[in-house]
Protein backbone atom coordinates (compact mmCIF):
# COMPACT_ATOMS: atom_id res chain seq x y z
CA UNK A 1 0.00 0.00 0.00
CA UNK A 2 1.38 3.39 -1.02
CA UNK A 3 1.93 6.10 1.56
CA UNK A 4 1.18 9.69 0.61
CA UNK A 5 2.05 12.78 2.60
CA UNK A 6 0.52 16.15 1.77
CA UNK A 7 2.14 19.19 3.35
CA UNK A 8 -0.58 21.82 3.65
CA UNK A 9 -4.35 21.68 3.91
CA UNK A 10 -5.61 24.28 1.47
CA UNK A 11 -7.38 23.82 -1.83
CA UNK A 12 -4.29 22.37 -3.55
CA UNK A 13 -4.24 19.70 -0.85
CA UNK A 14 -7.96 19.02 -1.38
CA UNK A 15 -7.31 18.67 -5.12
CA UNK A 16 -4.41 16.35 -4.34
CA UNK A 17 -6.58 14.14 -2.11
CA UNK A 18 -9.25 13.90 -4.79
CA UNK A 19 -6.61 13.26 -7.44
CA UNK A 20 -5.03 10.44 -5.43
CA UNK A 21 -8.41 8.87 -4.68
CA UNK A 22 -9.45 8.99 -8.35
CA UNK A 23 -6.54 6.64 -8.97
CA UNK A 24 -5.81 4.80 -5.72
CA UNK A 25 -8.64 3.91 -3.31
CA UNK A 26 -6.44 2.19 -0.76
CA UNK A 27 -3.22 4.16 -0.22
CA UNK A 28 -2.57 5.82 3.11
CA UNK A 29 -2.92 9.62 3.00
CA UNK A 30 -1.61 11.92 5.74
CA UNK A 31 -2.16 15.67 5.62
CA UNK A 32 -0.09 18.06 7.72
CA UNK A 33 -2.23 21.12 8.44
CA UNK A 34 -0.60 24.09 10.14
CA UNK A 35 -3.98 25.78 10.36
CA UNK A 36 -6.37 24.20 12.85
CA UNK A 37 -9.22 24.19 10.35
CA UNK A 38 -10.62 21.76 7.85
CA UNK A 39 -9.99 22.89 4.29
CA UNK A 40 -11.94 26.11 3.79
CA UNK A 41 -12.49 28.54 0.94
CA UNK A 42 -9.62 30.91 1.54
CA UNK A 43 -10.80 33.64 -0.88
CA UNK A 44 -14.04 33.82 1.11
CA UNK A 45 -12.52 35.38 4.21
CA UNK A 46 -13.52 38.86 3.01
CA UNK A 47 -17.03 37.61 2.19
CA UNK A 48 -17.20 36.26 5.72
CA UNK A 49 -16.47 39.71 7.18
CA UNK A 50 -19.01 41.17 4.78
CA UNK A 51 -21.65 38.75 6.05
CA UNK A 52 -22.09 37.05 2.66
CA UNK A 53 -21.10 33.64 4.00
CA UNK A 54 -20.50 32.02 7.36
CA UNK A 55 -18.04 29.60 8.90
CA UNK A 56 -20.11 26.52 8.00
CA UNK A 57 -20.71 27.46 4.39
CA UNK A 58 -17.05 28.40 4.01
CA UNK A 59 -15.92 24.82 4.43
CA UNK A 60 -14.67 23.74 1.03
CA UNK A 61 -15.94 20.20 1.30
CA UNK A 62 -18.61 18.26 3.16
CA UNK A 63 -18.13 17.30 6.80
CA UNK A 64 -17.16 13.72 5.96
CA UNK A 65 -14.55 14.73 3.37
CA UNK A 66 -11.53 13.37 5.25
CA UNK A 67 -13.20 10.29 6.64
CA UNK A 68 -14.78 9.39 3.31
CA UNK A 69 -11.39 9.66 1.63
CA UNK A 70 -9.62 7.88 4.51
CA UNK A 71 -7.31 10.81 5.18
CA UNK A 72 -5.51 11.34 8.47
CA UNK A 73 -5.02 15.03 9.25
CA UNK A 74 -2.44 16.29 11.71
CA UNK A 75 -3.74 19.69 12.83
CA UNK A 76 -1.67 22.52 14.27
CA UNK A 77 1.67 21.13 13.19
CA UNK A 78 3.90 21.81 10.23
CA UNK A 79 6.49 19.88 8.28
CA UNK A 80 10.00 20.81 9.33
CA UNK A 81 12.04 18.77 6.85
CA UNK A 82 11.87 16.35 3.95
CA UNK A 83 14.54 13.67 3.77
CA UNK A 84 14.58 12.45 0.15
CA UNK A 85 17.23 9.78 0.81
CA UNK A 86 15.12 8.01 3.39
CA UNK A 87 11.79 9.22 1.95
CA UNK A 88 10.50 10.72 5.18
CA UNK A 89 8.86 13.94 6.29
CA UNK A 90 9.62 15.26 9.76
CA UNK A 91 6.75 16.97 11.56
CA UNK A 92 7.03 19.73 14.17
CA UNK A 93 5.63 17.38 16.83
CA UNK A 94 8.71 15.21 16.31
CA UNK A 95 7.03 12.43 14.38
CA UNK A 96 8.57 11.10 11.20
CA UNK A 97 6.33 10.07 8.32
CA UNK A 98 7.64 7.69 5.66
CA UNK A 99 6.33 8.35 2.14
CA UNK A 100 6.25 6.93 -1.33
CA UNK A 101 5.15 10.30 -2.72
CA UNK A 102 4.86 13.68 -1.08
CA UNK A 103 3.08 16.82 -2.25
CA UNK A 104 4.26 20.19 -1.00
CA UNK A 105 1.13 22.32 -0.95
CA UNK A 106 2.43 24.73 1.65
CA UNK A 107 0.98 27.91 0.18
CA UNK A 108 2.49 31.31 0.75
CA UNK A 109 3.23 33.67 3.60
CA UNK A 110 2.63 37.38 3.89
CA UNK A 111 5.60 39.49 2.93
CA UNK A 112 6.13 42.40 5.30
CA UNK A 113 8.86 44.84 4.29
CA UNK A 114 10.74 46.54 7.09
CA UNK A 115 8.86 49.69 8.10
CA UNK A 116 10.00 52.03 10.84
CA UNK A 117 7.86 51.94 13.95
CA UNK A 118 5.86 48.89 12.84
CA UNK A 119 6.64 47.18 16.14
CA UNK A 120 4.90 50.00 18.01
CA UNK A 121 1.57 49.17 16.32
CA UNK A 122 -0.43 46.80 18.47
CA UNK A 123 -3.42 46.05 16.24
CA UNK A 124 -1.80 44.86 13.04
CA UNK A 125 -2.99 41.98 10.90
CA UNK A 126 -2.26 40.10 7.74
CA UNK A 127 -5.21 39.01 5.63
CA UNK A 128 -4.45 35.58 4.28
CA UNK A 129 -6.03 33.06 6.60
CA UNK A 130 -9.33 32.50 8.36
CA UNK A 131 -7.60 33.16 11.68
CA UNK A 132 -6.36 36.49 10.29
CA UNK A 133 -9.96 37.40 9.40
CA UNK A 134 -11.29 36.32 12.80
CA UNK A 135 -8.59 38.33 14.58
CA UNK A 136 -9.33 41.38 12.45
CA UNK A 137 -13.03 40.98 13.19
CA UNK A 138 -12.24 41.08 16.92
CA UNK A 139 -10.11 44.19 16.50
CA UNK A 140 -12.48 46.41 14.52
CA UNK A 141 -15.32 48.48 15.93
CA UNK A 142 -17.74 50.88 14.22
CA UNK A 143 -15.36 53.65 15.31
CA UNK A 144 -12.21 52.11 13.85
CA UNK A 145 -10.12 53.95 11.33
CA UNK A 146 -8.37 51.27 9.32
CA UNK A 147 -5.19 51.69 7.30
CA UNK A 148 -4.54 49.01 4.71
CA UNK A 149 -1.04 48.82 3.24
CA UNK A 150 -1.41 47.33 -0.23
CA UNK A 151 -4.02 48.05 -2.91
CA UNK A 152 -3.84 44.60 -4.47
CA UNK A 153 -6.48 41.88 -4.53
CA UNK A 154 -6.03 41.00 -0.86
CA UNK A 155 -5.98 44.55 0.48
CA UNK A 156 -8.99 45.70 -1.53
CA UNK A 157 -11.10 42.61 -0.82
CA UNK A 158 -10.36 43.21 2.86
CA UNK A 159 -11.49 46.83 2.45
CA UNK A 160 -14.75 45.77 0.83
CA UNK A 161 -15.30 43.14 3.51
CA UNK A 162 -15.08 45.52 6.46
CA UNK A 163 -16.35 48.71 4.81
CA UNK A 164 -19.71 48.68 6.60
CA UNK A 165 -18.21 47.70 9.93
CA UNK A 166 -15.70 50.51 10.47
CA UNK A 167 -15.61 54.30 10.47
CA UNK A 168 -13.08 54.80 7.69
CA UNK A 169 -10.65 52.94 5.48
CA UNK A 170 -7.50 54.32 3.86
CA UNK A 171 -5.54 52.19 1.44
CA UNK A 172 -1.98 53.06 0.48
CA UNK A 173 0.25 51.50 -2.15
CA UNK A 174 3.61 52.19 -3.67
CA UNK A 175 2.06 51.67 -7.10
CA UNK A 176 0.21 54.62 -8.58
CA UNK A 177 -2.93 52.60 -9.28
CA UNK A 178 -5.08 49.97 -7.61
CA UNK A 179 -4.78 46.26 -8.51
CA UNK A 180 -1.54 47.07 -10.32
CA UNK A 181 -0.70 43.42 -10.99
CA UNK A 182 -3.83 42.82 -13.09
CA UNK A 183 -5.24 46.18 -14.25
CA UNK A 184 -3.83 48.91 -16.48
CA UNK A 185 -4.17 52.61 -15.63
CA UNK A 186 -7.57 53.18 -17.21
CA UNK A 187 -9.18 50.03 -15.81
CA UNK A 188 -7.70 50.73 -12.41
CA UNK A 189 -9.11 54.27 -12.45
CA UNK A 190 -12.60 52.92 -13.14
CA UNK A 191 -12.31 50.47 -10.25
CA UNK A 192 -10.81 53.08 -7.92
CA UNK A 193 -13.74 55.39 -8.64
CA UNK A 194 -16.16 52.64 -7.62
CA UNK A 195 -14.26 52.02 -4.39
CA UNK A 196 -14.12 55.74 -3.62
CA UNK A 197 -17.88 56.01 -4.12
CA UNK A 198 -18.12 53.62 -1.21
CA UNK A 199 -15.99 55.79 1.01
CA UNK A 200 -12.62 54.09 0.64
CA UNK A 201 -9.77 56.60 0.51
CA UNK A 202 -6.51 56.12 -1.32
CA UNK A 203 -2.91 57.21 -0.92
CA UNK A 204 -1.35 55.88 -4.12
CA UNK A 205 2.23 56.19 -5.33
CA UNK A 206 3.07 56.59 -1.69
CA UNK A 207 4.42 54.48 1.12
CA UNK A 208 4.78 54.60 4.87
CA UNK A 209 7.94 56.26 6.13
CA UNK A 210 7.16 55.73 9.80
CA UNK A 211 4.43 54.54 12.15
CA UNK A 212 4.05 56.49 15.37
CA UNK A 213 1.72 56.17 18.37
CA UNK A 214 -0.33 59.36 18.75
CA UNK A 215 -0.35 59.19 22.53
CA UNK A 216 -4.07 58.41 22.85
CA UNK A 217 -4.02 54.75 21.90
CA UNK A 218 -4.08 55.34 18.17
CA UNK A 219 -1.41 55.82 15.54
CA UNK A 220 -0.24 57.98 12.70
CA UNK A 221 1.39 56.72 9.54
CA UNK A 222 3.76 59.37 8.26
CA UNK A 223 3.85 58.88 4.52
CA UNK A 224 6.90 59.52 2.32
CA UNK A 225 4.90 62.19 0.48
CA UNK A 226 4.56 64.12 3.72
CA UNK A 227 0.90 63.17 4.23
CA UNK A 228 -0.23 61.80 7.58
CA UNK A 229 -2.72 58.95 7.89
CA UNK A 230 -4.20 58.50 11.37
CA UNK A 231 -5.46 54.99 12.15
CA UNK A 232 -6.45 52.53 14.88
CA UNK A 233 -6.13 49.21 13.07
CA UNK A 234 -3.49 48.26 10.50
CA UNK A 235 -3.82 45.62 7.79
CA UNK A 236 -0.64 44.55 6.00
CA UNK A 237 -1.40 43.32 2.50
CA UNK A 238 1.79 44.18 0.66
CA UNK A 239 2.23 40.81 -0.95
CA UNK A 240 3.01 37.17 -0.39
CA UNK A 241 5.97 34.88 -0.86
CA UNK A 242 5.78 31.24 -1.81
CA UNK A 243 6.73 28.83 0.96
CA UNK A 244 9.62 27.11 -0.78
CA UNK A 245 11.90 26.44 2.18
CA UNK A 246 11.37 22.68 2.53
CA UNK A 247 12.39 21.98 -1.05
CA UNK A 248 15.13 24.61 -1.17
CA UNK A 249 16.73 23.09 1.92
CA UNK A 250 17.32 19.79 0.14
CA UNK A 251 18.66 21.30 -3.06
CA UNK A 252 15.49 21.18 -5.12
CA UNK A 253 15.03 23.57 -8.03
CA UNK A 254 13.46 26.73 -6.60
CA UNK A 255 12.98 30.20 -8.10
CA UNK A 256 10.16 32.37 -6.79
CA UNK A 257 8.26 29.16 -6.27
CA UNK A 258 9.09 25.48 -6.26
CA UNK A 259 9.74 24.68 -9.90
CA UNK A 260 7.43 21.93 -11.23
CA UNK A 261 6.94 20.29 -14.60
CA UNK A 262 3.58 19.71 -16.27
CA UNK A 263 3.04 16.64 -14.11
CA UNK A 264 3.71 18.78 -11.00
CA UNK A 265 6.91 16.90 -10.21
CA UNK A 266 9.71 18.91 -8.60
CA UNK A 267 13.35 18.30 -9.50
CA UNK A 268 13.56 15.72 -6.69
CA UNK A 269 12.06 12.26 -7.39
CA UNK A 270 8.96 11.46 -5.35
CA UNK A 271 8.36 15.08 -4.41
CA UNK A 272 5.57 17.05 -6.04
CA UNK A 273 4.37 20.61 -5.45
CA UNK A 274 1.10 22.39 -6.15
CA UNK A 275 -0.70 25.65 -5.48
CA UNK A 276 0.66 28.99 -4.33
CA UNK A 277 4.08 27.58 -3.44
CA UNK A 278 4.65 26.08 -6.90
CA UNK A 279 6.01 27.64 -10.05
CA UNK A 280 4.38 25.92 -13.00
CA UNK A 281 4.03 26.54 -16.72
CA UNK A 282 2.06 29.58 -17.85
CA UNK A 283 0.72 28.93 -21.33
CA UNK A 284 0.38 32.65 -22.09
CA UNK A 285 4.05 33.54 -21.58
CA UNK A 286 5.51 30.14 -22.44
CA UNK A 287 7.52 30.01 -19.23
CA UNK A 288 7.18 29.04 -15.60
CA UNK A 289 5.79 31.37 -12.98
CA UNK A 290 3.92 31.32 -9.70
CA UNK A 291 0.19 31.47 -10.45
CA UNK A 292 -1.22 32.03 -7.00
CA UNK A 293 -4.89 31.70 -7.87
CA UNK A 294 -7.54 29.32 -6.67
CA UNK A 295 -8.34 27.40 -9.90
CA UNK A 296 -4.68 26.66 -10.56
CA UNK A 297 -4.22 25.48 -6.99
CA UNK A 298 -7.02 22.95 -7.31
CA UNK A 299 -6.03 21.74 -10.77
CA UNK A 300 -2.35 21.48 -9.92
CA UNK A 301 -3.18 19.64 -6.72
CA UNK A 302 -5.45 17.24 -8.59
CA UNK A 303 -2.88 16.50 -11.28
CA UNK A 304 -0.17 16.07 -8.65
CA UNK A 305 -2.38 13.60 -6.79
CA UNK A 306 -3.13 11.51 -9.88
CA UNK A 307 0.56 11.37 -10.78
CA UNK A 308 1.64 10.55 -7.22
CA UNK A 309 -0.72 7.59 -7.35
CA UNK A 310 0.82 6.29 -10.56
CA UNK A 311 -1.65 7.82 -12.98
CA UNK A 312 -0.91 10.34 -15.67
CA UNK A 313 -2.48 13.79 -15.64
CA UNK A 314 -0.96 16.82 -17.29
CA UNK A 315 -1.61 20.35 -16.19
CA UNK A 316 -0.25 22.36 -19.08
CA UNK A 317 -2.82 25.11 -19.51
CA UNK A 318 -2.21 27.27 -16.47
CA UNK A 319 -2.51 31.00 -16.87
CA UNK A 320 -3.12 34.03 -14.73
CA UNK A 321 -6.82 34.79 -14.50
CA UNK A 322 -8.94 36.68 -12.05
CA UNK A 323 -12.59 37.39 -11.58
CA UNK A 324 -12.92 40.06 -8.98
CA UNK A 325 -15.66 42.48 -8.14
CA UNK A 326 -16.05 45.41 -5.78
CA UNK A 327 -19.41 46.81 -4.78
CA UNK A 328 -21.04 45.33 -7.87
CA UNK A 329 -18.46 46.40 -10.46
CA UNK A 330 -16.81 43.33 -11.86
CA UNK A 331 -13.42 42.87 -13.51
CA UNK A 332 -12.25 39.80 -15.34
CA UNK A 333 -8.71 39.41 -16.55
CA UNK A 334 -6.72 36.60 -18.07
CA UNK A 335 -3.47 35.84 -19.80
CA UNK A 336 -0.83 38.26 -20.99
CA UNK A 337 -1.48 41.82 -22.14
CA UNK A 338 0.73 41.71 -25.19
CA UNK A 339 0.26 42.15 -28.91
CA UNK A 340 -2.32 44.18 -30.73
CA UNK A 341 -5.11 45.52 -28.54
CA UNK A 342 -8.73 45.65 -29.62
CA UNK A 343 -10.68 47.88 -27.30
CA UNK A 344 -14.18 49.08 -26.67
CA UNK A 345 -15.03 51.49 -23.88
CA UNK A 346 -18.11 53.13 -22.47
CA UNK A 347 -18.27 55.31 -19.35
CA UNK A 348 -19.16 52.17 -17.33
CA UNK A 349 -17.18 49.49 -19.09
CA UNK A 350 -13.84 48.63 -20.67
CA UNK A 351 -13.06 45.70 -22.91
CA UNK A 352 -9.53 45.02 -24.12
CA UNK A 353 -8.58 41.94 -26.10
CA UNK A 354 -4.90 41.27 -26.83
CA UNK A 355 -4.04 39.45 -30.05
CA UNK A 356 -0.67 38.17 -31.20
CA UNK A 357 0.36 35.57 -33.79
CA UNK A 358 -3.27 34.78 -34.65
CA UNK A 359 -3.98 33.92 -30.99
CA UNK A 360 -5.89 35.63 -28.22
CA UNK A 361 -3.22 36.17 -25.56
CA UNK A 362 -5.15 37.94 -22.86
CA UNK A 363 -8.03 40.20 -21.95
CA UNK A 364 -9.27 42.81 -19.52
CA UNK A 365 -13.00 43.23 -19.04
CA UNK A 366 -14.69 45.60 -16.64
CA UNK A 367 -18.44 45.84 -16.51
CA UNK A 368 -18.85 43.58 -19.59
CA UNK A 369 -17.99 40.05 -18.53
CA UNK A 370 -20.88 38.07 -20.05
CA UNK A 371 -19.71 34.62 -21.20
CA UNK A 372 -16.08 35.64 -20.65
CA UNK A 373 -15.14 31.98 -20.35
CA UNK A 374 -15.45 31.68 -24.12
CA UNK A 375 -12.59 34.19 -24.43
CA UNK A 376 -10.65 32.27 -21.78
CA UNK A 377 -11.10 29.06 -23.76
CA UNK A 378 -9.58 30.71 -26.85
CA UNK A 379 -6.45 31.45 -24.81
CA UNK A 380 -6.35 28.06 -23.11
CA UNK A 381 -6.90 26.07 -26.30
CA UNK A 382 -4.67 28.34 -28.37
CA UNK A 383 -7.41 28.58 -30.97
CA UNK A 384 -6.16 30.17 -34.23
CA UNK A 385 -8.33 33.29 -34.59
CA UNK A 386 -8.36 32.85 -38.37
CA UNK A 387 -10.49 29.74 -37.77
CA UNK A 388 -13.29 31.67 -36.06
CA UNK A 389 -15.35 34.77 -36.80
CA UNK A 390 -13.23 36.98 -34.61
CA UNK A 391 -15.03 40.15 -35.71
CA UNK A 392 -18.20 38.72 -34.17
CA UNK A 393 -16.29 37.48 -31.12
CA UNK A 394 -14.90 40.97 -30.51
CA UNK A 395 -18.41 42.36 -30.11
CA UNK A 396 -19.21 39.85 -27.40
CA UNK A 397 -18.06 36.39 -26.38
CA UNK A 398 -20.26 33.90 -28.21
CA UNK A 399 -20.04 30.34 -29.47
CA UNK A 400 -21.74 31.62 -32.64
CA UNK A 401 -18.29 32.78 -33.74
CA UNK A 402 -17.09 29.18 -34.10
CA UNK A 403 -17.67 27.10 -37.23
CA UNK A 404 -20.84 25.02 -37.28
CA UNK A 405 -18.65 21.90 -37.28
CA UNK A 406 -16.99 23.08 -34.08
CA UNK A 407 -20.39 23.85 -32.54
CA UNK A 408 -21.68 20.44 -33.52
CA UNK A 409 -18.89 18.91 -31.41
CA UNK A 410 -19.59 21.26 -28.51
CA UNK A 411 -23.36 20.96 -28.38
CA UNK A 412 -23.96 17.64 -30.09
CA UNK A 413 -21.29 15.60 -28.39
CA UNK A 414 -19.88 14.74 -24.98
CA UNK A 415 -17.26 17.24 -23.85
Amino acid sequence: MKRYVIIGNGVAAAGCIEGIRSTDRDGEITVISAEKHEVYCRPLISYYLEGKTDLTRMNYRAEDFYSKNAVRVIYGESATAIDPDNSTVTVSDGSVLPYDAVCVAAGSSPFVPPMEGLDTVEKKYSFLTLDDALALEQAITPESRVLIVGAGLIGLKCAEGIQERVASITVCDLANRVLSSILDDECAALMQKKLEEHGIQFLLGDSVAKFEPDGSGSYVAHMKSGADAPFDVLVLAVGVRANTGLVKAIGGNVNRGIVVDNRLATSIPGIYAAGDCAEGYDVTIGANRVLAIFPNAYMQGHAAGVNMAGGDELFDCGMPMNSIGFFGLHAMTAGAYEGECYEETTPESIKRLYVKDDLLKGFLLIGCHERAGIYTSLIRNRTPLSEIDFELMKQGATTAAFSSENRRKKFGGVV
Binding site: G15, C41, P43, L44, Y47, K52, T53, R57, M58, N59, Y60, R61, F294, P295, Y298, M299, H302, M321, N322, S323, I324, G325, H330, M332, A334, H369, E370, R371, A372, G373, I374, T376, S377, R380, D389, L392, A397, T398, T399, A400, A401, S404, R407, R408, K410, F411, G412, G413, V414, V415
Partner: protein
Amino acid sequence: MKRVYVNEQWCLGCHLCEYNCAFANSGKKDMVSALAGKPIYPRVHVEGHDNISYAVSCRHCKDPLCVKSCIAGALYRGEDGVIRIHRERCVSCYTCVLVCPYGALLPGEDGAMQKCELCLSNSSGEPACVKGCPNRAIVYEERGDSL
Protein backbone atom coordinates in the same frame (compact mmCIF):
# COMPACT_ATOMS: atom_id res chain seq x y z
CA MET B 1 -25.32 9.57 -18.86
CA LYS B 2 -28.13 11.32 -20.66
CA ARG B 3 -27.37 14.86 -21.70
CA VAL B 4 -29.08 17.65 -23.59
CA TYR B 5 -27.95 18.00 -27.21
CA VAL B 6 -28.91 20.57 -29.82
CA ASN B 7 -29.22 20.48 -33.54
CA GLU B 8 -28.90 24.01 -34.86
CA GLN B 9 -30.38 23.08 -38.22
CA TRP B 10 -33.67 22.37 -36.54
CA CYS B 11 -33.77 25.33 -34.15
CA LEU B 12 -36.43 27.89 -35.05
CA GLY B 13 -35.10 30.49 -32.62
CA CYS B 14 -38.50 30.66 -30.91
CA HIS B 15 -37.05 30.91 -27.37
CA LEU B 16 -39.76 28.58 -26.00
CA CYS B 17 -37.03 26.57 -24.26
CA GLU B 18 -36.11 29.61 -22.20
CA TYR B 19 -39.70 30.06 -21.01
CA ASN B 20 -40.19 26.38 -20.30
CA CYS B 21 -36.92 26.33 -18.35
CA ALA B 22 -37.83 29.37 -16.27
CA PHE B 23 -41.27 27.91 -15.55
CA ALA B 24 -39.99 24.45 -14.63
CA ASN B 25 -37.56 25.99 -12.16
CA SER B 26 -40.00 28.54 -10.73
CA GLY B 27 -41.73 26.16 -8.33
CA LYS B 28 -45.07 27.62 -9.48
CA LYS B 29 -48.02 25.61 -10.74
CA ASP B 30 -49.10 27.72 -13.67
CA MET B 31 -46.96 29.38 -16.28
CA VAL B 32 -48.77 32.72 -16.31
CA SER B 33 -48.26 33.49 -12.63
CA ALA B 34 -44.68 32.23 -12.91
CA LEU B 35 -43.61 34.29 -15.89
CA ALA B 36 -46.08 36.97 -16.91
CA GLY B 37 -44.86 40.54 -16.87
CA LYS B 38 -41.43 39.99 -15.32
CA PRO B 39 -37.91 39.34 -16.49
CA ILE B 40 -37.13 35.63 -16.71
CA TYR B 41 -33.95 33.91 -15.57
CA PRO B 42 -33.71 30.73 -17.62
CA ARG B 43 -30.79 28.30 -17.47
CA VAL B 44 -30.84 27.75 -21.22
CA HIS B 45 -30.27 30.54 -23.73
CA VAL B 46 -30.84 30.75 -27.44
CA GLU B 47 -27.74 32.07 -29.13
CA GLY B 48 -27.00 32.62 -32.75
CA HIS B 49 -26.02 34.89 -35.57
CA ASP B 50 -27.44 35.56 -39.02
CA ASN B 51 -29.69 32.62 -39.84
CA ILE B 52 -28.34 30.28 -37.20
CA SER B 53 -29.75 29.75 -33.74
CA TYR B 54 -29.34 27.11 -31.08
CA ALA B 55 -29.97 26.60 -27.38
CA VAL B 56 -27.03 26.66 -25.00
CA SER B 57 -27.12 25.04 -21.58
CA CYS B 58 -24.59 23.28 -19.35
CA ARG B 59 -22.72 20.50 -21.17
CA HIS B 60 -22.15 18.59 -17.92
CA CYS B 61 -18.48 18.28 -18.90
CA LYS B 62 -16.56 15.21 -17.91
CA ASP B 63 -13.77 17.50 -16.68
CA PRO B 64 -15.73 20.49 -15.38
CA LEU B 65 -13.57 23.60 -15.13
CA CYS B 66 -16.33 25.41 -13.24
CA VAL B 67 -16.29 22.83 -10.45
CA LYS B 68 -12.51 22.88 -10.20
CA SER B 69 -12.44 26.69 -10.16
CA CYS B 70 -15.35 27.50 -7.83
CA ILE B 71 -13.84 29.46 -4.96
CA ALA B 72 -16.83 28.74 -2.72
CA GLY B 73 -16.98 24.98 -3.18
CA ALA B 74 -20.53 25.55 -4.43
CA LEU B 75 -20.35 23.76 -7.77
CA TYR B 76 -20.00 20.01 -7.66
CA ARG B 77 -20.29 16.92 -9.81
CA GLY B 78 -22.64 14.29 -8.47
CA GLU B 79 -22.02 10.58 -8.77
CA ASP B 80 -24.55 10.57 -11.61
CA GLY B 81 -22.27 12.94 -13.56
CA VAL B 82 -24.64 15.91 -13.28
CA ILE B 83 -23.00 19.24 -12.40
CA ARG B 84 -25.04 20.98 -9.73
CA ILE B 85 -24.69 24.05 -7.54
CA HIS B 86 -25.28 24.59 -3.84
CA ARG B 87 -26.67 28.07 -4.47
CA GLU B 88 -26.61 29.05 -0.79
CA ARG B 89 -22.83 28.78 -0.87
CA CYS B 90 -22.36 30.96 -3.98
CA VAL B 91 -20.88 34.44 -3.35
CA SER B 92 -21.34 35.62 -6.96
CA CYS B 93 -17.62 35.95 -7.67
CA TYR B 94 -18.23 34.86 -11.29
CA THR B 95 -15.11 32.72 -11.48
CA CYS B 96 -17.28 30.07 -13.14
CA VAL B 97 -18.24 32.62 -15.80
CA LEU B 98 -14.54 33.25 -16.38
CA VAL B 99 -13.79 29.58 -17.02
CA CYS B 100 -16.88 28.04 -18.65
CA PRO B 101 -16.09 27.61 -22.36
CA TYR B 102 -19.80 27.58 -23.24
CA GLY B 103 -21.14 30.58 -21.37
CA ALA B 104 -23.53 28.24 -19.59
CA LEU B 105 -23.60 29.82 -16.13
CA LEU B 106 -25.58 32.94 -15.36
CA PRO B 107 -26.81 34.63 -12.22
CA GLY B 108 -30.39 34.05 -11.11
CA GLU B 109 -32.80 36.67 -9.89
CA ASP B 110 -31.21 36.77 -6.43
CA GLY B 111 -27.69 37.21 -7.84
CA ALA B 112 -26.42 33.73 -6.99
CA MET B 113 -25.33 31.66 -9.98
CA GLN B 114 -27.63 29.07 -11.44
CA LYS B 115 -27.26 26.43 -14.10
CA CYS B 116 -29.00 23.62 -15.91
CA GLU B 117 -29.43 20.60 -13.64
CA LEU B 118 -31.44 18.72 -16.25
CA CYS B 119 -34.73 19.35 -14.38
CA LEU B 120 -34.08 16.15 -12.46
CA SER B 121 -35.22 17.60 -9.16
CA ASN B 122 -37.94 20.02 -10.23
CA SER B 123 -41.57 19.41 -11.20
CA SER B 124 -40.65 18.66 -14.81
CA GLY B 125 -38.56 15.62 -13.89
CA GLU B 126 -36.78 15.69 -17.25
CA PRO B 127 -35.42 18.65 -19.25
CA ALA B 128 -38.35 21.03 -19.82
CA CYS B 129 -36.52 22.68 -22.72
CA VAL B 130 -36.53 19.34 -24.52
CA LYS B 131 -40.15 18.46 -23.69
CA GLY B 132 -41.39 21.78 -24.99
CA CYS B 133 -39.25 22.15 -28.10
CA PRO B 134 -41.67 22.23 -31.04
CA ASN B 135 -39.16 21.06 -33.62
CA ARG B 136 -37.05 18.53 -31.72
CA ALA B 137 -34.03 20.82 -32.00
CA ILE B 138 -33.14 19.91 -28.41
CA VAL B 139 -32.98 16.29 -27.37
CA TYR B 140 -32.17 14.46 -24.16
CA GLU B 141 -30.37 11.21 -24.76
CA GLU B 142 -27.39 8.97 -24.22
CA ARG B 143 -24.65 9.44 -26.76
CA GLY B 144 -22.43 6.52 -26.03
CA ASP B 145 -20.21 7.49 -23.12
CA SER B 146 -20.00 6.13 -19.62
CA LEU B 147 -20.34 9.35 -17.61
